[in-house]
């Protein structure tokens, strides 16, 4: 159904260039940025990189698989809350309390809810940041893809899931912190987050995770599975007739994208110190997709850079000119998605074609 700008066939030198680009990215993220940026700017960059991690999954599921994953906020939130619950419990234990601060204020006040208890264990909490989103995605994906619910239906269902989760979290004030979410997180596995040195450490963890995931996604893209995923996107029926089950192919992409978003949410918590329903509802869920769309959904680097750029523009411009930024943001989506479906990553290709007046071969949209 969806036609997406096809990725241009890789030039013969691509195999040599990719490690080069990867090394460049690694040098920039791990070497130049920490040296050049102040503590404050570096912690902002850490936040943007979390969005970039979500974009890696979006690029896989949407760019390659044609699944418009509009509910990434759900998985980001599950990962974020799993991490934040553990950190809140550790913070509370450090001051000799058994209950996190907000529960003493709003809760029943006597006992920790049973589903909070396992999160006191760091290994369990860390595993849950990835496994919980993947499990939810697997269940929803299994039911949705098996019955060939797709396209707009899938987009709207995943959006409804994002709405339902944030409404549910808001409703459970006593156990989830309600609208405020889990705030004021002090420590990260024994390190105080007030200390700029530890903030830098968090940045390095996030940057390293992003680089690893990009390398992993790149491998997945060029693998047999990656080919199959693109085939499902472009002609699902044909893939079915060839004897594959497109539902499983899509399910894997959806589940991996969910795990990626969960990991991003988990890393977002120490970087920013908060997770709340406002960060995971419908609006942020669309935001996760928009960054990738603006940068170029089918191109991994494009999606990642787009996510960082949009997040950066959001926080700098929206502080300075709130009204103007909203118009600009809207216009950016309209122009990028409507008129440049390959995103900014395809701008060079589009301009080149126009100049040389070759017919747009790969361009189906």
């Amino acid at each position: 159904m969806t036609t997406i700008t096809e990725t241009p066939p890789a030039p013969p030198t691509a195999r040599l260039r990719v490690p080069g680009a990867f090394v460049l990215a690694a040098v920039l993220l791990l070497g130049v940025a920490p040296l050049a940026l102040s503590d404050f700017r570096l912690s902002l960059l850490a936040k943007y990189l979390c969005y970039a991690i979500v974009a890696v999954g979006v690029s896989l599921a949407w760019g390659r698989g044609g699944l418009m994953v509009l509910g990434q906020g759900v998985f980001f939130g599950l990962g974020g809350y799993a991490m934040a619950m553990h950190l809140k419990l550790t913070d509370a234990a450090a001051t000799g309390e058994t209950l996190p601060d907000f529960m003493q204020l709003y809760g029943t006040g006597d006992a920790l809810p049973w589903w909070w208890e396992p999160f006191a264990d760091p290994a369990f909490a860390l595993a849950m940041t990835v496994l919980l989103p993947m499990a939810v995605a697997a269940v929803l994906g299994f039911f949705v893809f098996r019955r060939r619910v797709k396209g707009a239906y899938f987009a709207i269902l995943s959006q409804a899931l994002a709405a339902a989760l944030s409404i549910w979290l808001i409703g459970q004030q006593a156990t989830t912190g309600g609208t405020n979410g889990l705030t004021d997180i002090q420590g990260f596995f024994g390190y105080s987050l007030d200390d700029p040195v530890n903030q830098r450490m968090v940045y390095f963890v996030i940057a390293a995770v992003l680089l690893l995931l990009m390398a992993g996604a790149r491998q997945l893209f060029v693998s047999r599975y990656g080919e199959l995923l693109v085939a499902v996107r472009d002609s699902e029926e044909r893939v079915r007739f060839l004897g594959y089950d497109p539902a499983n192919v899509k399910l894997v992409a959806y589940v991996v994208a969910a795990g990626t978003a969960g990991l991003a949410g988990a890393l977002f918590v120490p970087a920013v110190g908060i997770i709340s329903p406002a960060l995971i509802g419908i609006v942020p869920s669309i935001g996760f997709v928009i960054g990738a769309a603006v940068g170029g959904r089918a191109s991994l680097v494009g999606a990642v850079l787009g996510a960082v750029a949009v997040a950066w523009a959001q926080s700098t411009l929206s502080d300075a000119f709130p009204a103007a930024w909203t118009y600009l943001q809207g216009l950016l989506f309209v122009l990028a998605v409507g008129f440049l479906p390959g995103g900014l990553a395809s701008l060079g290709v589009v301009l080149w074609r126009r100049r040389t007046r070759t017919p747009a071969t790969g361009e189906t949209a």
Partner: protein, 295 residues
């Protein structure tokens, strides 16, 4: 018994609101396949139109009645403009319409904020619509809700008449069922698209007028309703008016019964689970157009 009756009346009135906001989408999303996220902002347009008219026309009842056709025209014109500027370029990429119209909806929300201010505004309901109507046995029904129910049913009736009995409706159905065949039969499909969009968006404007009776009017009011409206159309089946009607009331009653026995947030989650479960049984929604397409 009284409780059950009261809850079902609440459910029916939730259903009527759902129906009214989803009705326009049955045309634009259900029939044309356009995921118009700015539909919520067309609803907002209708609400603000009511607000503006009430400040210039004295008499809440008169201004409400005037607002209905005016909101239809204003929101419809905006929809037609949107179709002409953007959406007609995107018919081959239905999912991208979601993101593009999301950008439009952001801009419209900001426009509302700049023109009317960020805080919510209020309209006064006409005296006739402020009280409760007793149904006997302790069962009451807010008359504003009754008005919305009547308006929803009237809109369904009008839309049915247009789609089933007029030459325009015949052309709309032809374009939806087989665009190419309609085109070679001499139907200007581009113009039909624009008119369909005009009607669909206009109905959102009418819904906006009705919503001024039950909730606050503000720049983000569209976002509150949009996902529910889409769910109604998804469950109802592609472009099926009777599907949307049944679904709206079924979801409304389900929501209100669950809300009574649990909480609002739990009810929302259960309704969503129920919808996913329902789509296992009927993946194409309650009613479908029979086609031989593989998709």
């Amino acid at each position: 018994m009284t409780v059950i009756l009261n809850q079902s009346f609440t459910g029916i009135s939730i259903g009527a609101v759902l129906l009214l906001i989803a009705l326009g989408l049955t045309l634009t999303f259900g029939q044309m396949g356009v995921i118009n996220m700015a539909h919520g902002e067309f609803i907002m347009t209708g609400a603000y139109t009511t607000y503006v008219l009430q400040r210039s026309i004295s008499g809440a009842g008169v201004s409400l009645l005037v607002a209905l056709p005016v909101a239809f025209l204003v929101a419809g014109a905006m929809g037609a403009l949107l179709e002409w500027l953007l959406i007609r370029r995107l018919y081959t990429r239905p999912l991208d319409t979601l993101l593009v119209t999301w950008g439009v909806s952001l801009m419209l929300q900001q426009l509302a904020r700049d023109v009317f201010g960020a805080p919510n505004v209020q309209t006064h309901a006409p005296d006739v619509l402020t009280g409760n109507i007793s149904m006997g046995g302790g069962v009451t029904f807010a008359s504003s809700r009754l008005f919305i129910l009547g308006l929803a049913l009237l809109s369904v009736l009008a839309l049915t008449v247009v789609l089933r009995l007029t030459p325009l409706g015949r052309r709309i159905r032809a374009v939806v069922q087989n665009r190419d065949l309609a085109e070679v039969s001499g139907i200007a499909t581009g113009r039909v698209d624009r008119v369909t969009f005009f009607i669909g968006s206009g109905l959102a404007g009418v819904a906006g007028v009705a919503l001024t009776l039950v909730g606050p009017i503000g720049p983000t009011m569209g976002t509150n309703y949009i996902v529910d409206a889409f769910l109604v159309v998804v469950v109802g089946g592609i472009g099926q008016l009777k599907g949307s009607v049944l679904t709206a009331f079924a979801l409304g009653v389900l929501q209100s019964v669950l809300e009574y026995s649990t909480t609002l947030s739990v009810a929302k989650v259960i309704v969503l689970v129920a919808i996913v479960a329902f789509l296992q049984w009927r993946p194409q929604g309650l009613y479908t157009l029979r086609t031989r397409s593989l998709a």
